[in-house]
């Protein structure tokens, strides 16, 4: 549990109710004649939500329309105030809930930069200093001195976004504004978000774009009817969310379930989890029939760090409750964004394990070299029969970080050498372990 000063946003027990007026009841006539007869019904948009977001984290709020995610964002940005509960935000907040708020159609693009910037809390000096950068980012060229009313909607949004991303907050709240402009411009926006992430900013984004969530977010909070339904690692949350969304709309749950296509949806055990725990060691997502149960696991990973190219072994202790045949042991490696980049099992490797008697067994997976590039990785382990339901699937049973000074790009370091004109070159920066704390 991270201590308080590492939390950028703390939402504790927040409830927000809206009055849905059947008719607008704001005139004197209504107040007098319908006194004591409230012509509205209450609608609970956010229902007892508790959430803490550590500093530097990027959190995606997902959920169906009307699930309360935008209301939650507005509560955090102090546009709305909670009826019950408390919200604390540490640091300067900038909320980009709408692009071009306060843009005045009669003024030129340049003038609007200053108006809009002022609304976002930017000082005049900061704006003057960044004016050229903003204009260049917006790709408006000479149009910058034309009144905004003559802009196309794309130009309008580009200018708005260019101003918006100049803000330099500690906490950035973003609502559904990433889908702006053409593909090259979008790429620029994504880059800017990446920059902000690299600068250690805390970002909370509401979006329906699951691709963006997967790309940017460390954590996903799935809102459902005003409550937090699930929070945790993006891939699993998105899967569960999409599955529910499809089931509710009557679509078959076959087909596009989620980005990893894995389709396995475990118990929603991480509900009410603290966000701080999410990427910490070993998640607790497990499911299966437990006819054989993983009761222990030991790896050669020390302190969660492995060097690139170092050997790895994983020993799994399994308790078998009644004699079983055709048992398969599997192991899967996943990158942080949930993509599986390697997976194998004893069946695929043609390892015949025979019948397992009741009692404790231990299986070891040995890899002489794990040539992964720096990053965070997760290992899934599983015991299952050749056919039928899995005995015990342990998602992210182990997580580790590859720490090394390597600057190669990609996920895996393919063993290689260089040769030119028949002369062999040796590679000097041999993959070595470098512990970064």
């Amino acid at each position: 549990m991270p201590s308080d000063e590492f939390l950028a946003v703390e939402v504790s027990g927040v409830t927000k109710r809206f009055r849905v007026h059947s008719e607008k009841n704001n005139t004197l006539k209504d107040k007098v004649f319908y006194f004591n007869r409230p012509k509205y019904r209450e609608f609970t948009a956010v229902d007892n939500v508790t959430l803490s977001i550590p500093r530097g984290r990027t959190v995606g709020l997902i959920g169906a329309n009307g699930s309360g995610k935008s209301s939650l964002l507005k509560l955090i940005s102090r546009i709305l105030y909670p009826d019950v509960g408390r919200i604390e935000v540490r640091g300067r907040v900038a909320s980009l809930l709408e692009l071009g708020a306060g843009f005045h159609p009669d003024f030129t693009g340049r003038e609007n930069i200053f108006i809009n910037g002022a609304l976002l809390g930017l000082s005049k000096q900061a704006l003057v200093g960044k004016l050229e950068e903003i204009i260049a980012f917006s790709e408006l060229g000479s149009f910058i001195d034309e009144p905004v009313r003559s802009y196309s909607s794309g130009m309008y949004m580009r200018l708005a976004f260019a101003v918006a991303v100049t803000v330099d907050p500690d906490v950035l709240l973003v609502d559904e504004i990433l889908a702006v402009g053409d593909a090259p411009f979008q790429a620029k926006c994504m880059n800017r978000i990446r920059q902000l992430q690299a600068m250690g900013k805390t970002i909370v984004m509401v979006t329906h774009d699951m691709g963006a969530v997967e790309k940017f977010c460390d954590t996903v909070v799935w809102m459902h009817r005003g409550k937090v339904r699930l929070q945790g690692d993006p891939v699993r949350s998105i899967q569960s969310y999409l599955q529910l969304a499809f089931e509710e709309t009557g679509f078959s749950k076959e087909g596009s379930l989620g980005p990893s296509g894995d389709g396995d949806v475990g118990p929603e055990s991480s509900e009410e989890n603290d966000l701080g725990n999410v990427d910490s060691h070993a998640g607790t997502d497990r499911w299966g029939t437990h006819e054989a149960e993983i009761i222990g696991m030991e790896t050669s990973i020390e302190d969660g760090v492995l060097g690139c190219g170092e050997p790895l072994h994983i020993r799994v202790d399994v308790m078998v409750k009644e004699p079983i045949e055709n048992v398969v042991f599997g192991v899967g490696f996943f990158s942080e964004d949930g993509r599986q980049f390697y997976g194998t099992n004893t069946f695929l490797d043609h390892v015949q394990l025979g019948e397992l008697h009741m009692g404790l067994h231990s299986v070891t997976f040995r890899a002489p070299s794990v040539p992964l590039l720096p990053g965070v990785y997760h290992i899934d382990i599983a015991v299952h029969p050749l056919e039928g339901q899995v005995y015990d699937y342990w998602k992210s049973a182990e997580s580790f970080r590859i720490a090394s000074g390597l600057r190669d790009s990609g996920l895996v370091r393919i063993a290689h050498s260089w040769e030119m004109n028949g002369k062999e070159y040796t590679i000097h920066d041999s993959p070595q372990r470098m512990v970064i704390e």
């Binding site: 909320s95 809930l97 708020a101 009669d106 609304l119 809390g121």
Partner: protein, 258 residues
């Protein structure tokens, strides 16, 4: 409370930007543009002088000067109150979409009216001089009197801007209310014309104190009536605190109601 003041201060760039865009858009697209800031009070001067001097036969000497002093000051007050009552609803797109201390909105209305008033003084000055009223040291009281009026306007602007969000009729009621208020303030007539029995009632009106003080320093050439001005200042401060209190209480629900 100190926290809120510093927060409003942090948003002074936004405040200034709102005031400027309000001033700039007011006459945008009209042929005479910004000149209207000066033409309007001049035309008003002509109309009121015609009616009260030639139709109603008011016998105040240099009536145009006398009336103009009060009228400009009243106009600043009345336009502030009228415009502020709808400002939150008018700016609903901002209120719903971004965070800022909501006080900025009514304050921007006060700022806009204040700047307009100061500009209209450029008309008052030649009118004074043409009628033989040359600057005296008494004119130095002007900023003090203006401060009292601004505080009072702020108080009402805060109160009405917040209340109108929840009771939209206020905006329409204010028109008639301000008209009545105009006639119980000695702008077009002098306080001397009030029957002595009713004098005390008239003096309760803080706008009387402001207008009278201005007339005293510019027109009568006497120092302001301190008793009245201190009373006016007191009422203004109370109004400011009261209006602000209402605003603080109500502004949390603005985004859902507009």
């Amino acid at each position: 409370m100190v926290g809120r003041i510093t927060e409003v201060w942090q948003y002074k760039v936004m405040l200034r930007s709102l005031v400027l865009s309000e001033l700039r858009t007011r006459y945008k697209g009209s042929f005479l543009g910004f000149l209207w800031t000066f033409i309007n009070p001049l035309l008003m001067l002509v109309v009121y002088t015609m009616i009260f001097k030639f139709v109603m036969r008011v016998t105040v000497p240099h009536y145009a000067v006398f009336m103009f002093i009060g009228l400009l000051s009243w106009n600043m007050f009345a336009t502030t109150v009228a415009a502020s009552s709808s400002v939150v609803v008018r700016q609903s797109s901002l209120v719903k979409k971004i965070y800022f201390p909501r006080e900025v909105l009514p304050l921007s209305v006060v700022g806009g009216s204040l700047i307009n008033y100061l500009l209209s003084l450029l008309i008052l000055l030649p009118v004074l001089i043409m009628n033989g009223y040359t600057p005296t040291s008494l004119w130095l009281f002007f900023p003090l009197i203006l401060l009292v009026e601004v505080l009072f306007s702020c108080g009402l602007a805060l109160a009405f801007s917040a209340l109108t969000v929840f009771l939209r009729d206020l905006e329409h009621m204010l028109g008639i209310f301000l008209m009545a208020w105009f006639y119980v303030t000695p702008v077009v007539y002098s306080l001397a014309m009030i029957p002595p029995k009713m004098m005390e009632v008239f003096k309760l009106n803080p706008m009387t104190d402001v207008v009278l003080a201005l007339q005293q320093i510019f027109y009568y050439g006497s120092p302001p009536n301190w008793k009245m001005l201190v009373y006016g200042a007191g009422v203004s401060v109370v109004m400011l605190l009261f209006g602000w209190g209402i605003f603080v209480k109500l502004n949390r629900r603005f985004a859902e109601e507009v």
